[in-house]
């Protein structure tokens, strides 16, 4: 590994920690410009990292210079780099959006909380140590819960407490898994453990894998652990919902993927079919509940539950380098961009109409056309129409399913796309209705509309540049 003057890996963690603490120092409600500057630098670093690893292969940064298993290692391979790019690329427009949003709606402490959230995400994607992953998971959960509860309303506090309890129980299960692994192997470093876990590991390893998997599934809101997500994501402020649905739930999915491909790969077969079935159930149930939602943000939140199901469909189809893995990552990235755009658009629509239910949307098509267009573009990804990233992901998934002869999955995937079309069109139809005479629309800052549009366009056009993302994924 050649020495680089600027090694992006640790800076991607140090930078957000720094601006988050400085934002706290600056005082309540301050820190927006600092955040945007920091995020711009982080996006540049993430791009630099992607370029570096495409040229030189996966990179490792040994923290403290000690090296695993004594110290902690940071690992950046294609998968990590893709998730880092997603995080920074979603967070920067959302920061601009949030700054405009919170000029209209009062807030305290959003910026430090968001900063720690992003630091936790970056640290999680780069970590190569099981216990360090636990600490980053906790950092992530606490930041997310704090953001959900922001604003001090009782309903949000209830949703936040439920989210926190589920999250803490899940982390407790994960920690017990780490304890068992340490007891068996004497190390928690992923690189050290991977060759040690053979085809017939002791019972403790099976239990550890099971505990860690269930914990992570609960954090990713896979059926039947999905009950905390709609109130939490549907009730929070729009920028918060966007960050949570787009990024936070992807982190625990990333960990499931990383563990299935790495340390626990001999054990992964056992759970693969259950994950696939739960994913299929999530797609169908989540889409159905989205279709029946009355409030805009609950519709989008249930849509998240449904779209997360696609991520788990890949597990029964997973082979070493096959299209299933690529489909999963592409879906994660495309959905991240699209869902962020959708929540951003929902926030604009709610500010504009002053109400949060679908009926209140009538007539908004004339007032906020950019936003509605953004909503539609995001919907294109969810439906899986070309040239969006969602289309590419579903195409790869169908390809993987047909290659292995599992056509029932294909039926589920296509049904999911049709149901997504149904609930997206439900929103659009409402918006194009004529406004009743009593309707009053507020002015919404332009920055909000255009950042939503930017995110949506990115997700819709992702398919055109999808090949490069897949190349990145192939590294490491």
């Amino acid at each position: 590994m050649t020495e680089a003057i600027l090694d992006p890996l640790p800076w991607l963690i140090v930078l957000p920690l720094a601006w988050a603490s400085l934002a706290f120092l600056l005082g309540e409600g301050r820190g927006g410009r600092l955040a945007i500057a920091g995020l711009a630098a982080q996006l540049a670093l993430a791009l630099l990292l992607a370029v570096q690893i495409m040229a030189q292969g996966a990179r490792v940064h040994t923290v403290g210079g000690w090296g695993a298993p004594l110290g902690i290692d940071l690992l950046a391979d294609g998968l990590a780099a893709a998730m880092l790019l997603l995080t920074q690329a979603v967070a920067l427009p959302l920061a601009v959006y949030a700054r405009a949003y919170f000029s209209a709606v009062h807030q305290t402490h959003f910026w430090p909380l968001a900063g720690f959230l992003l630091a936790a995400l970056n640290a999680l994607f780069l970590s190569a140590d099981l216990f360090n992953l636990y600490v980053t998971l906790e950092l992530l959960s606490l930041a997310a819960v704090g953001l959900v509860a922001l604003g001090g309303k009782t309903a949000q506090a209830a949703a936040a407490l439920r989210y926190l309890l589920v999250s803490l129980t899940a982390s407790g299960a994960y920690l017990m898994g780490v304890a068992l692994i340490y007891g068996v192997y004497g190390s928690v470093s992923l690189a050290t453990l991977a060759p040690l876990v053979g085809g017939d590991p002791p019972l403790a390893v099976w239990l550890a894998a099971g505990l860690m998997l269930v914990g992570l599934l609960a954090k990713t809101a896979l059926l039947p652990f999905h009950f905390w997500l709609p109130p939490a994501h549907g009730g929070a402020a729009a920028p918060v919902s966007a960050l949570l649905s787009a990024l936070v739930v992807k982190a625990s999915f990333y960990m499931v993927l990383r563990l299935s491909l790495g340390v626990f790969s001999p054990l992964a077969e056992m759970a693969a079919w259950s994950l696939g079935l739960l994913g299929a159930a999530a797609i169908l149930w989540g889409s159905w509940r989205a279709l029946r939602a009355i409030r805009i943000k609950m519709l989008v939140a249930w849509s998240t539950v449904a779209q997360l199901g696609y991520l788990f469909l890949i597990f029964p189809l997973l082979t070493a380098d096959g299209p299933a893995l690529q489909a999963g990552v592409m879906q994660a990235v495309a959905h991240g961009l699209a869902k962020a755009a959708m929540f951003a658009a929902a926030g604009v629509l709610m500010l504009s109409t002053g109400r949060d239910n679908l009926e209140g949307l009538a007539g908004v098509a004339n007032r906020a056309p950019v936003t509605l267009f953004a909503f539609s573009l995001a919907g294109i990804t969810l439906m899986g129409l070309p040239p969006s990233g969602g289309f590419l992901a579903k195409w790869l998934l169908i390809e993987a399913a047909l290659a292995q002869g599992h056509w029932p999955w294909v039926v589920v995937i296509i049904s999911g796309g049709l149901l997504a079309a149904a609930y997206v069109f439900k929103v659009l139809c409402q918006a194009f209705l004529l406004a009743p005479r009593s309707a009053h629309f507020n002015r919404v800052p332009r920055a909000m509309e255009w950042t939503a549009f930017l995110l949506a366009a990115a997700s819709a056009l992702l398919g055109l540049r999808g090949v490069e993302l897949l190349e990145l994924l192939a590294v490491g």
């Binding site: 640290a123 004497g186 002791p202």
Partner: protein, 231 residues
């Protein structure tokens, strides 16, 4: 939750305990032995106690994130607060408690200082010292000498975040010179003591804050509306 479901959960918990116990009793010998690795590198770590060395040097990155978690929890608590919660007066002072606090608090501060210094050679260090300082703050609050926090002032925020920022700055400077948190062996002891000192103060404040923010009395219900608040 109805009775059959409750029974199912209890049964599941018992089964889980049984299976875990069986697994724990049946463990093979560990493949990797970190004790030898720690012992070998202890002299290069800057401290003499192996747990402190692991905590602040070998796995110092975990400690950095952990302090962030604490700071974040305090932030979350401040964010959760209802907007109009007023800063309440301290509770009525009990004379015995006041006397106790006058005697105990200086001793506790001294003990914290000792724990901080002792961490290099025996069990101790920044977290333990910070916890003792926080306990002193709680005692002062109970004795009526320290009010609960409403919204921390700029100086207080500096104290809260200062330790973390010192740690982060040292990490960043070392990063610019090589790897993250790679202490040069000849300065490792001093740097670790510096970081721990900053952490002691900040952790004491943060842990005290976790209590003192919770100690706020909720604002009284508005006349003529709203439900009775339970505290």
């Amino acid at each position: 939750m109805n009775a059959p479901a409750r029974l199912a959960v209890v049964g599941f918990a018992l089964a889980l305990a049984g299976v875990l116990a069986a697994a724990v009793l049946d463990l093979p010998a560990a493949a990797v032995d970190l004790r030898a690795a720690v012992a070998k590198k202890l002299s290069a770590s800057g401290v003499e106690h192996p747990v402190t060395a692991v905590l602040l040097n070998f796995r110092g990155y975990d400690t950095l994130l952990e302090v962030a978690v604490l700071l974040l929890a305090l932030l979350g608590m401040l964010a959760v607060a209802k907007p109009e919660a007023a800063a309440p007066a301290p509770p009525a002072a009990d004379p015995m408690l006041r006397t106790l606090s006058s005697v105990a608090v200086p001793l506790m501060i001294l003990a914290a200082g000792y724990l901080l210094w002792a961490g290099a050679h025996r069990p101790g260090g920044a977290f333990q010292a910070g916890a003792v300082l926080a306990a002193a703050a709680v005692l002062l609050h109970l004795a009526g000498r320290l009010p609960a926090w409403a919204s921390p002032s700029r100086v207080l925020r500096l104290g809260l975040a200062g330790g973390f920022l010192v740690f982060l700055s040292v990490a960043a400077i070392l990063l610019a010179q090589g790897a993250l948190l790679r202490y040069p062996p000849e300065h490792a002891g001093t740097l670790i003591l510096l970081i721990e000192a900053g952490l002691t103060l900040s952790l004491g404040l943060i842990l005290a804050g976790l209590f003192l923010v919770l100690a706020r009395r909720p604002a009284p219900p508005r006349a003529g509306g709203g439900e009775e608040g339970k505290s």
